[in-house]
């Protein structure tokens, strides 16, 4: 006898039973014990067929290969730069992954990226001990200059971007700002000072109300005046 004990999009806390019996399978952020499936985080229930998953409502960013993130240079080493990823782990940006052009051996690396600079980079490797390599050698990856950086909860990034980028393009057009969202929860906004201010407020609003439906309409109303 298998039975589901929750509904789609229900909010569950750690240890809450989701389903009974072996007909259902534990997906992300769940575990099975004594014939029952339990949640492992605070989040929303997601039922896809027989698999039960939990979409976390909060929590640390888990580093994933292929993610575009915004990082800050914290150290310069022999072979490249060490960057802070806004997690418990720093990443390594190797000289060979830093630029399209050839960087000579005797070149001063701080002329290319100085300590304190922000960069848009992509994760190319994560080890089991969370040692991370990043690259800046692809289109769209670059050093950041000007604008402002806003920190949000990394679990809210998908809502800030929206379905097929609907939310972020709405904010971009309404505020005439250029916005880059890093998967690690750092957002870079650049535009006119007023636009930047408005875009920051809109993003913070999305973060706060992210669990509600029909959010794009709410944000459109919020930005409506312009």
């Amino acid at each position: 006898m298998s039975e589901i004990l929750v509904k789609e999009r229900d909010i569950v806390i750690p240890g809450e039973a989701l389903a009974e019996g072996l007909d259902y399978l534990p997906g992300d952020n769940t575990y099975r014990e004594n014939n029952q499936i339990y949640s492992k985080v605070l989040g929303l229930v997601n039922i896809s067929g027989r698999v039960l998953k939990i979409t976390p409502l909060a929590g640390p960013y888990v580093l994933k290969v292929g993610d575009k993130i915004i990082a800050k240079v914290i150290d310069i080493t022999m072979s490249g730069w060490r960057v802070d990823t806004n997690t418990a782990y720093s990443a390594m940006l190797n000289v060979k992954d830093a630029s399209m052009r050839f960087i000579k051996k005797e070149e001063d690396l701080s002329k290319i990226l100085a300590i304190g600079d922000h960069v848009v980079v992509k994760i190319i490797n994560v080890t089991s001990q969370n040692l991370i390599d990043v690259t800046m050698k692809e289109p769209g990856l670059h050093k950041i200059s000007g604008g402002r950086i806003v920190k949000i909860n990394s679990q809210k990034v998908p809502r800030v971007i929206g379905k097929q980028g609907s939310m972020i393009s709405l904010i971009k057009t309404k505020t005439a700002c250029e916005i880059t969202v890093g998967q690690n929860g750092l957002v870079w906004i650049t535009g006119t000072p007023e636009g930047e201010f408005l875009a920051e407020k809109a993003i913070k609003l999305v973060e706060e109300k992210s669990h509600l439906e029909g959010l794009t309409d709410k944000i459109e109303k919020f930005l409506g005046g312009n």
Binding site: E16, P60, Y89, H211
Partner: protein, 241 residues
């Protein structure tokens, strides 16, 4: 003296009035406020973040680190020496041990999750309030957890087995010289909700085996109320408008 009625008129298994809230400290990854009677604990969780000093780092899993502190004006109002004390360190240790079985930090090697608990006002049962608050704060911070931990104190006052002792009850043998010979026992317990396993079991005073077992049974029953409030506090923030 025979303890016929509890000082504040509660029944034996009745807890003091509680007020539980999540997300009280915006800067923290997760936070909670847990009030039970006059005892008030505020917990804040930060991390996972880099762990220093390095020799504490564990390459197999992250470290859970608790801090427990009573504010100088808590308690009776007499100023206490602020900062860590021997007692505070011990309570921080038992808090860590009672939360560790449910918290899963295997995804965060070499990192640390810090749990800070401050107590602005205390009236006995502080370590229980601290654990209950910390459990909410950890869940709110999105740390992977097997289950929630709830804590309450049980004990024997004079001839009665009661739940959630306050300061007066804990010290009844001092306030009332006639009750000498019947020492008060105060047993803080913490319980994992689904499995009903105990993760904290300490005791002051003395108690017989039978009384201890019935006290623990009473505690398991009383703790369900705390769990329900923890659950409510966590979900409250996400109700649809």
């Amino acid at each position: 003296m025979v303890y016929r009625k509890r000082f504040d008129g509660r029944t034996d298994e009745e807890l003091r009035p509680m007020e539980v809230k999540a997300n009280v400290i915006p800067n923290a990854a997760g936070s909670a406020s847990f009030k039970i009677g006059k005892t008030w604990a505020i917990a804040a969780v930060y991390g996972p973040r880099e762990l220093y000093p390095r020799f504490l780092q564990d390459p197999k899993k992250g470290l859970l680190r608790c801090h427990y502190n009573m504010l100088p004006f808590s308690g009776s109002g007499e100023r206490m020496r602020p900062g860590t004390s021997r007692r505070g360190q011990e309570i921080a240790m038992v808090m860590t041990k009672s939360l560790e079985p449910v918290v899963d930090l295997s995804a965060f090697p070499n990192a640390v999750v810090d749990v800070f608990v401050e107590l602005p006002q205390t009236d006995a049962g502080t370590r229980c309030a601290a654990i209950s608050a910390a459990s909410i704060a950890l869940a709110e911070a999105g740390i992977p957890m097997k289950d929630m931990v709830s804590a309450v104190a049980v004990g024997k006052v004079d001839n009665r087995i009661v739940a959630d002792l306050d300061y007066m009850e804990e010290h009844v043998d001092e306030f009332n010289p006639e009750s000498k010979g019947q020492p008060v026992s105060d047993i803080p317990i913490a319980v994992i909700h689904n499995t009903k396993e105990l993760t904290l079991l300490q005791m002051d005073g003395e108690i017989s085996k039978d009384d201890l077992l019935s006290a623990l049974r009473l505690g398991q029953k009383a703790i369900e109320q705390i769990y329900q409030l923890q659950k409510k506090a966590l979900k409250e923030r996400f109700v649809k408008e």
